[in-house]
Amino acid sequence: MTDTFTPVLTANWGQPNSWKLSAYEAAGGYKAAAKALKMQPAEVLGVVKDSNLRGRGGAGFPVGMKWSFVPQDNPNPKYLVVNGDESEPGTCKDMPLLLASPHTLIEGMIISSYAINCHTAFVYIRGEVLHVHRRVRQAVAEAYEAGWLGKDIKGSGYDLDIIVHAGAGAYICGEETALLNSLEGRRGQPRLRPPFPAVEGLYASPTVINNVESIATVPSIINHGAEWFAGMGTEKSKGFTIYSLSGHVAKPGQYEAPLGITLRELLERAGGIRAGHELKFWTPGGSSTPILTAEHLDVPLDYEGLASAGSMMGTKALQIFDETVSVVRTTLRWVEFYKHESCGKCTPCREGTWWLVQLLRDFEQGVAAEGSVDKLLDVAGIVNGKSFCALAGGACACVTSAVKHFRAEFEQGYTTPAWEVLPYEASALFAVEGGDVR
């Protein structure tokens, strides 16, 4: 029996020792790799292309097309780099995936590397999540031992090495060119494009960078075929994905579903908003996607649906906030994050996030100057779209969307601290020692 929520990517997460090679193989793991290694690389690429799989890291770029940009006549080695620097506030899908089933990623990497003629692939894992880093390293070691990595994989004549690299804890290293810099041992700051990584990426060689989830989806496509995958989802957003629900929701967690599902459906599955409360606002894809409200409950959660609602798909991190939450406070916390994570390379992001935090603090403390909501919007305006990469845009998106939907609440910041408008204790999910949640 299959229904909308029948899992593929997360199917084995609940099994005992799901992260072990034995458990993974027992559940049918590595069949796709074996199958792919018998195909021609171009055929594998063709299947992924036909499936219309789009990148799961946020931008939604078609994966097969990205692979086809790799110039195969370039004499340099080709590299696959898997982006596991998941750091966006609210986003929690790659880390649980790697904890629960690291071999899904490794199998995906074998197939993907084979398709682009790569013999050295990298996994870049966010530095703070040491347990995930350990688990992936262990899985890679297991895969080497079982002959799924190394020389002449399972007699196919194909060689692949996987290098697991821990970042040093920088959000910006999730930006693909900053990730490459970091991987090369340089400062984690984004690079100029062009040249694009597909042509001149890691060590100035052709490089494909994909999100963990994108690559982990590849084995199922090889197993079941492009048509099967394309049969799920919506017209332009095919397949299934992992939605992470967090915040004021009865059962937070990772929910696998076809693209195009609505928040209303997901909330039903997750037991609704926490008891006795109602939805105030939510992010569709992490804090860098403009916030939405209860009126958007039926927007299809796919690339096109969210764009038409004035937001973005992002990382499908659905942060749910009920009516007790101060939007001023939330926005400040988010922008504090972006200020902290700004790499400093370009002026608008470095100085702009620094300024926005100071302005927002005034709103939170109820000491903002009369009329300064417009100044807040104006500052966001001189930052947004002027920066080197998308980080500052994310910081501005939450500010402008919050003001758009809740301008009156900001205007209360001229006179009243946010904690008086909406006492913070009311939105806490659990009691805080000492009672001060500020």
Binding site: C343, C346, T347, R350, E351, V383
Partner: protein, 784 residues
């Protein structure tokens, strides 16, 4: 240069259609039609970074019919055919973006213009006025740092002023290859920093001060020294080496305050070295202001007429046993005056500009292959060459701007550099040079093994003179392979001195002394018969013990044998033309004070044979006499007037001579000499105990420490431990310094810098051995 035609594309900027080479950045394309887009991080000689975002423009059409929805950074935007660009002049979007970024840049800037050295010439100040808001809307507390951060003894950083454009860090990485400063931290506390235990010691560090678009980087020697609008600027040519850098010298109250690299795309681009920037000629207390004559064994001040009469009497008494020793500081015009003075007033060919060990082979080489020749080997030729071979030449130390150009070619054009040397120096490493290892003095064997071709350029340094047959073979081999060949001397006046005929075998313009037609040519111009016999080289003059010497700008310690200098000058009548008190004055009978380079105009010829104008910086000179005017008076007193009343007259007379088009001098066979024993390898580091560094204490501190370099086998043979103090012993004396043992050093030789540091000075001259000669080693305790 590539012969491929440059593809031109048409773009429209603010409604003006312009043709630019394909790939031109929008900011450059705009410049070409006179539209200045404000910028901070952009620098045409650095790779684009797009960090400051000040140059945002609107692109309504990228050339494909579609525009960009958000403003684009003009400094990183490559133009495409048909692209439409609207700058702040025509686009509200661009204007708003630029005003916004400007406000953000000033957000944490202290606006301390009233106490900032940069105010008045500050791109931030200028662009804030031109493109910024009148008032900031920021009312918070600005970011501050303890100030200043000392990056090196010379370079200071006031971090709160910094706009983080990364020009300095990109310069140090991309241009000079000394990536010792880098951005550290992130976000709003990102800052320029350096390694914990390594100061930013670079031969080129001063450039970062010049390219800093705000007042964040300052040089200690200029900090709080002047306001830009109080300075008077003079364009000039650097006097420190043969690279020929164009400079701008700024003075106030007739005291030089600072020197900046001039914009000379064909020569030094927009860079110069720290010696050229921070070591000035003026400001020394030992400046000579009046003539001196020796009386009762002591030099005493004298009037010009008395000194000239005394000098003339002494020279007359010496008859034809007289010689002229000139040094590297002379402009072309002054060198020409000495050349003419020797031939006409003294009637001798005893003149030699080589105030250093040289050889007859070298004099022959200079007469045959250098004088009057424009070889076509230029900076541009180096940049587009496929391969450059360095023979007895260390560009970073001996011609730093040649080093920068080679490095640029290595980075951008995949130039391959080979160095024939005893080890791969720091400079060679930064060029990624391939070492062709040889013992000092044996470069010729290594050169003969190379397969030269028409895409190769051979650069020989002045030390090639000490390597028998190297110069002769360089001529033969490059001619055979149609490879390029250039001689790169170390001193600014050297190439001009060759052209002026400050050599015993050479008259001006490359006319060989031994060629009767050349002598006739010169005699016709000068209206005097010329001496027929070739003269003595500088070594020859010192050995010969002449009765009188005219010395100009020489340091005794630059010659190989101090004993020879002492016995020659000590027993002769010596006229010294000098601007500062010099060790030569221990021997001088008459001292004529002459103008500093800053007090006169003229020209230097650089190694390419390119003329560089020397501008007169100081018009309130303490002495009005240039070398050529003092010589003119002396010649008149000797009854042989030179007819050179002024520098411009000398320049005009020299130019009218033109180059020699007759038979060229033949090469001179090398001295056959193969010394046995431990050989001395040495060259002058850029910054050392040279008198040029007097008065520049910060610069002097950045000199590289002096160490004796030994291969492991050689060290073992002499039982020397790493770091131990050793004595390098020559026939006349010894030098003591710490030993460094390196696998990369050729065995059978010891390398040490020709001079110590200003803090611990020594000179290999005290050894009495020239590089390539035999020395002995002893451990620090004096035991063998």
């Amino acid at each position: 240069m590539s012969d491929a035609p440059v593809e031109l594309i048409k773009v429209t900027i603010d409604g003006v259609e312009v043709e630019v080479p394909k790939g031109t950045l929008a900011i450059r394309a705009a410049e070409s039609v006179g539209i200045a887009i404000p910028r901070f991080c952009d620098h045409p000689l650095l790779e684009p970074i797009g960090a400051c975002r000040q140059c945002l423009v609107e692109v309504p059409d990228a050339g494909n019919g579609r525009g960009f929805p958000i403003p684009q950074a003009a400094c990183t935007l490559a133009t495409a055919p048909g692209m439409q660009i609207k700058t702040q002049a025509t686009s509200q979007m661009a204007r708003d973006a630029q005003v916004g970024v400007q406000e953000l840049i000033l957000l944490n800037h202290p606006l301390d213009c009233p106490i900032c050295d940069k105010a008045g010439e500050c791109p931030l100040q200028n662009q804030a006025f031109a493109n910024g808001r009148a008032e900031s809307r920021y009312d918070g507390v600005k970011r501050t740092y303890p100030k200043p951060l000392q990056l090196s003894p010379q370079i200071l950083l006031d971090r709160e002023r910094c706009v983080l454009c990364a020009r300095c860090t990109r310069f140090s990485e991309q241009i000079s290859g000394d990536p010792l400063i880098a951005l550290t931290e992130r976000g709003a506390v990102q800052q320029v920093g350096l390694f914990a235990d390594e100061p930013y010691n670079s031969y080129f560090s001063g450039n970062v001060v010049q390219i800093c678009p705000v007042g964040a980087l300052t040089a200690k020697s200029y900090r709080f020294n002047s306001r830009p609008f109080d300075l008077v600027s003079t364009d000039t040519t650097c006097e420190h080496c043969a690279a020929g850098c164009q400079l701008r010298t700024d003075h106030r109250h007739f005291t030089t305050r600072r020197r900046l690299a001039g914009a000379a795309p064909e020569v030094n681009e927009e860079w110069n070295c720290d010696k050229g920037r921070f070591a000035f000629a003026s400001g020394h207390e030992d400046r000579l202001t009046t003539p001196l004559v020796r009386e009762d064994g002591q030099l005493r001040p004298a009037s010009w007429p008395e000194a000239i009469a005394a000098a003339a009497a002494g020279l007359q008494a010496a008859g034809d046993s007289v010689g002229v020793l000139t040094g590297g500081r002379l402009t072309l015009e002054n060198a020409y005056a000495y050349s003419k003075f020797a031939r006409i007033a003294l009637g001798t060919n005893n003149i030699d500009f080589r105030s250093r060990p040289g050889s007859d082979e070298e004099a022959g080489f200079l007469a045959h292959a250098v004088a009057g020749v424009r070889s076509g080997v230029t900076y541009a030729a180096l940049e587009s060459a496929k391969r450059v071979v360095l023979v007895a030449f260390e560009p970073e130390d001996e011609a730093p701007i040649v080093f920068l150009r080679l490095r640029k070619a290595v980075r951008k054009n995949k130039l391959r550099v080979l160095t024939i040397a005893p080890f791969a120096s720091l400079g060679s490493q930064k060029l990624g040079a391939e070492l062709v290892q040889c013992l000092p003095g044996q470069e010729v064997a290594a050169l003969q093994k190379l397969e030269l071709d028409a895409d190769t350029i051979v650069l020989v340094g002045e030390r090639a003179a000490l390597s028998p047959d190297t110069l002769d073979q360089a001529v033969h081999l490059t001619a055979k392979a149609q490879a390029g060949l250039a001689w790169i001397p170390r001193r600014a006046g050297d190439r001009g001195a060759v052209e002026a005929g400050c050599l015993p075998n050479l008259l001006p313009g490359g006319r060989p002394v031994g060629e009767p037609a050349a002598r006739v040519d010169m005699a016709a111009s000068w209206g005097e018969d010329l001496p027929i016999e070739p003269g003595l080289t500088s070594d020859g003059m010192l050995e010969a013990g002449l009765a009188a010497y005219v010395a100009a700008g020489i340091e005794p310690a630059d010659y190989a044998s101090q004993q020879a200098v002492q016995s020659a000058l000590g027993n002769a009548f010596v006229v010294s033309l000098e601007n500062r008190v010099s060790p030569v004055h221990d021997f001088a009978d008459v001292v004529l004070p002459v103008a500093l380079i800053e007090e006169q105009s003229g020209h230097f010829l650089n190694w390419e044979h390119r003329g560089g104008f020397v501008g007169r910086v100081n018009t309130q000179a303490k002495t009005a006499m240039t070398d050529l005017r003092a010589l003119g008076m002396l010649a008149a007193a000797l009854g042989k007037p030179l007819g050179l009343a002024s520098t411009s007259q000398a320049a005009a007379e020299f130019a009218a001579l033109g180059p020699w088009e007759g038979k060229r001098a033949a090469l001179v066979s090398p001295a056959k000499d193969s010394p046995k024993g431990l050989l001395l390898a040495s060259w002058h580091q850029l910054l050392d105990a040279s008198r040029a560094l007097d008065g520049a204490p910060e610069l002097a501190t950045t000199a590289r420490p002096a160490k004796a370099l030994l291969g492991p086998k050689t060290a073992k043979k002499y039982s020397i431990d790493p770091g131990a103090e050793i004595a390098v012993i020559g026939s006349e004396g010894q030098v003591r310094l710490p030993a460094e043992i390196s696998e990369g050093m050729v065995e059978g030789a010891v390398w040490l810098p020709a001079k110590g540091t200003p803090a611990q000075p020594y000179s290999i001259a005290s050894l009495g051995v020239a590089p390539g000669g035999v020395v002995e080693l002893k451990g620090g305790d004096g035991n063998e």
